[in-house]
């Protein structure tokens, strides 16, 4: 039935539409925020996942510190700690997008998420965002480890900028994670793919090794990855440099990934219903 009646005008119908759009936007934001918080809670209560999030980056950071000490730039130890922390954030996002989709499938919640009367993006974005947030445990862990064991003081050039860059990096990587998750919904063995993506991406993104030290052909790949710009923003906040252009690039690419992921999910969800990959059996 049309909303336009004898007592209504185009102006009032426009107002009603605007109110509905605002209400829908607020509802969508609530789903994402509440969902992300509850997924963070769920992930943070797993001793295994928390231990993994702390221990693996510490091993990587230890290797990095010894490499940097042996090299010509021992003053970059703080960058080693930050870089290892970023690798932890990336690992969490990657395994969170692949592994968590698989986990949702194993625990039988993937079907319950997909059957909700919401766009699939609103059910999966909280999962990938939550994994990016829990990835920051790795960052905190490596910074604390560097300070306690190697005396690396976290004296960031721009402490507030570092917090903003880390938050922006988490948001950007969370949105990138959604694009990955869109493909992982279709793959019953998504965790196999995540294993092969982990190291190449952090290597190409320059999280630990400067991009300038890598072969030239990796440059264009690095330029389109939000991980590259997120890592650059965080390192610039730590060591000094223009944070905001890098952070803006990270968020812009993240937003593009979110848009692509949203579109892909429409197709992917339908495809998953055809191929019956939402459940294990």
């Amino acid at each position: 039935m049309s909303a336009i009646g004898p007592g209504t005008t185009p102006a009032t119908t426009t107002g009603v539409r605007a109110e509905r759009a605002i209400a829908a936007g607020a509802s969508a934001a609530r789903v994402v925020i509440v969902g992300a918080l509850l997924h963070v809670k769920q992930l943070s209560r797993s001793p295994f996942e928390i231990a993994t999030a702390f221990i693996v980056p510490l091993v990587q950071a230890t290797l990095a510190v010894y490499l940097f000490r042996a090299g010509t730039e021992p003053h970059l130890l703080l960058e080693a700690a930050v870089g290892a922390g970023l690798m932890g954030v990336w690992s969490s996002v990657l395994f969170g997008s692949g592994g968590a989709i698989q986990n949702q499938r194993w625990q039988g919640t993937l079907e319950m998420l997909m059957i909700a009367p919401r766009p699939a993006v609103l059910t999966l974005l909280p999962v990938t965002l939550a994994n990016a947030v829990t990835g920051t445990y790795a960052m905190l862990g490596t910074l604390a480890w560097g300070w306690a064991l190697y005396g690396i003081t976290p004296d960031f050039r721009d402490p507030l900028g570092f917090v903003a860059a880390a938050a922006g990096c988490v948001a950007g990587l969370g949105m990138f994670g959604l694009l990955l998750a869109a493909t992982f919904v279709l793959l019953r063995n998504a965790n196999a793919l995540t294993n092969t993506l982990e190291y190449p991406i952090w290597l190409v993104s320059g999280m630990l090794v400067p991009i300038s030290a890598l072969p030239g052909w990796t440059g264009p790949i690095a330029a389109v990855l939000p991980t590259t710009w997120g890592a650059r923003a965080v390192r610039e906040a730590a060591a000094g440099g223009p944070i905001w252009p890098s952070l803006a690039a990270c968020l812009a690419i993240g937003a593009a990934c979110l848009a692509l992921g949203t579109l892909a999910l429409v197709h992917v969800e339908r495809r998953a219903r055809v191929t019956a990959t939402l459940a294990l059996a």
């Binding site: 769920q42 039988g108 919640t109 998420l113 059957i115 059910t123």
Partner: protein, 254 residues
């Protein structure tokens, strides 16, 4: 208008095996199911394991797209009007899975209330009502991993009812539940149907189907073999189990 209408539903699963010389294995899980369920009716779907019960439910609740045939739930097409169907249905399945174990029962309900679009102002009241209904009031702040099978099942049901669905799909909800909890579950299901909720129930428990269902379809080999009221299926003599065994016994196992 019927709450559920299915016409010639078919579903084939395709599975590729092998790397060097891949083979495509096709399994016809459902082979032309047609049924209609009236509003407020409690309809049972019985059949042996692998008969096609869950596949039929998953086509009706939009989780699977039929290979052929059409279905409408609450007047909406399950393939083209997915969102409209999902707003009006609840889905509950049996077993331990399907919940966030490290969260409390309350957190699980809060999250799904958001996902199912329950208005924020109504969530607290609705969740409290459902916790009372399923007998979990007072235990809602405990982690689900500490819940018994029966408590998990009751939480499943509370979740399925959060958005007051018109049609409720219950896929073996009493599996592994102790007799006392199963009786409570049956009472809850009967109350829901009495208040106008359409229920499609699958179960292996004949007494449960006999007690609850207005009509029953027996499915085997992906095809409906018999459909009628429990009294019609029993034919005046014997039990529903006798009738079921005689119907299903005629079908060769898949």
């Amino acid at each position: 208008m019927n709450a559920i209408e299915a016409d010639g539903l078919r579903r084939t699963y395709r599975q590729r095996t092998g790397w060097l010389s891949p083979k495509l294995i096709e399994t016809e899980a459902v082979r032309g199911v047609s049924l209609s369920v009236a509003r407020g009716e409690l309809f049972g779907l019985l059949g042996p394991n692998g008969a096609g019960k869950t596949t039929t439910i998953k086509m009706l609740n939009t989780l699977l797209i039929p290979t052929a045939g059409t279905a409408r739930v609450a007047g909406f097409d399950v393939v083209r009007q997915t969102r409209e169907v999902r707003r009006r249905i609840g889905y509950v399945f049996g077993g331990d899975r399907g919940l966030y174990d490290r969260l409390s029962g309350l957190d699980n309900l809060r999250y799904f209330a958001e996902l199912y679009g329950v208005p924020p102002r109504e969530q607290r009241r609705r969740i409290a009502e459902l916790l009372d209904l399923v007998g979990l009031a007072g235990r809602e702040r405990e982690r689900v991993e500490g819940y018994s099978r029966g408590m998990r099942q009751r939480l499943h049901i509370a979740r399925g009812l959060l958005h007051e669905p018109q049609v409720l799909f219950l896929d073996e909800p009493s599996i592994g539940v102790d007799p006392v909890a199963a009786r409570e579950l049956r009472r809850t299901i009967a109350d829901l149907a009495a208040t106008g909720t359409t229920v499609l129930l699958t179960t292996h428990y004949m007494a449960e189907a006999d007690e609850l269902c207005d009509r029953i379809a027996v499915i085997a080999g992906g095809v409906i073999r018999a459909l009628g009221t429990p009294a019609e299926l029993k034919g005046g003599t014997g039990t529903l189990e006798d009738a079921y065994v005689s119907i299903v016994g005629e079908v060769q196992p898949a």
